[in-house]
Symmetry: C2
Subunit: 187 residues, 2 copies
DNA sequence: CTATTAATTTGATATATATCTAATTAGATG
DNA sequence: CATCTAATTAGATATATATCAAATTAATAG
């Protein structure tokens, strides 16, 4: 389940990266040789910051690499990554995995609908699978990159269900929260 | 030149079509079987009009087909188109062609810069290639789907260069304007 | 150290578009 | 014909993001 979701976001990022006219042109311009930001700006008739922005997005998905020489940055198409990604993206299996993501989504929504009344949890699901869905929902009430005391954690959970102790333990167990030295944070 | 530009827009449309989370999920949901708009809306937790909108976009690029049964519309993934498109889109040759589009763009911009002063044409280029660039620029001053009298055409051209007769003839010859019964329209 | 050049980051703006509700269209059914 | 259902279209809104100018950073050269 985690894996097909991860694949989904990867495929989506790939398409997003190439779904902009300027970025697609950049990829084309880099197909024959590496080029500097300035050079690309000239070719595409855009300002340097714009090109810089697009290159950053392409770099995020590893479609280009960068090499520094003095103050100029040379960008090159990452042909291997391009090939690997394309191969995987066009595989029928991948499309089917995406389908699985959808049914998982639908399943999770059903569970949430069954066990929630507004923001309040009717009961803690006994089945592991269903409980996981609930825990993933619950952890969203915690901010990322923020540390909480045990008291704070309990308070947040208590808003949704009286048995905060069980749920707190389950969140740790499901590796959605982590604890050290009496502090908790989201993973 | 026309062909590589056409290829560019086709590739771009393909990526744009698949670069949205909901549309990608729709494609996934259709990978196993055909589905109705309502069914998809349920699976994706979206309203029907939203799904309808996405399906229309996917249909535009032939990624899905539609079959009517009573008042319900069943959509199916066009597997052949999907395979053909992805294969073509991701071929290295295609990427190189996109590179060609960029240099053509840059070339055209250079010509325009050389021959224009603001909106005014310095002289009509003698070379066929350069003249074509200028003519494609000029035809943009005409609206699509609108008919013009010869007098109007001449007036519009005269804003940019005194020799409107030559340019009008060239526009027809380059198949950028068409004429019948004394009326002109853009192609 | 200062000046210069290339790149990036920041902040603002404008455009595109995903989404919704409400209204409309098109079949089917009583 | 009236009604019901499914889908689409129209219109409104909110969000995302492509773009640019201005400010900042980084590396080099004088």
């Amino acid at each position: 389940m985690v894996s097909s979701t991860a694949e989904f976001t990867e495929v989506l990022s790939f398409f997003k990266a190439l779904s902009d006219e300027s970025r697609l042109k950049i990829v084309g311009a880099l197909s024959s040789e590496e080029r500097s930001v300035d050079e690309l700006a000239g070719l595409l008739n855009l300002r340097a910051p714009t090109v810089s922005h697009h290159l950053a997005r392409l770099k995020e998905v590893s479609l280009v690499t960068m090499r520094t020489e003095g103050t100029t940055h040379f960008y090159a198409l990452n042909v291997d990554a391009m090939r690997d990604l394309s191969k995987r993206v066009l595989a029928l299996k991948t499309v089917e995995n995406i389908g699985r993501v959808v049914s998982e989504d639908a399943y999770e929504q059903k569970i949430l609908k069954d066990f929630l009344v507004g923001e309040r949890l009717k009961e803690i699901p006994a089945s592991r699978k269903k409980r996981d869905v609930i825990l993933r929902w619950l952890v969203n009430y915690f901010e990322v990159d923020k540390e909480y005391t045990e008291k704070e954690v309990s308070a947040i959970i208590a808003v949704h269900h009286p048995d905060f102790a069980t749920l707190r333990r389950e969140l740790i167990c499901a590796k959605l929260l982590e604890r050290a030295k009496g502090l908790y944070w989201r993973i």
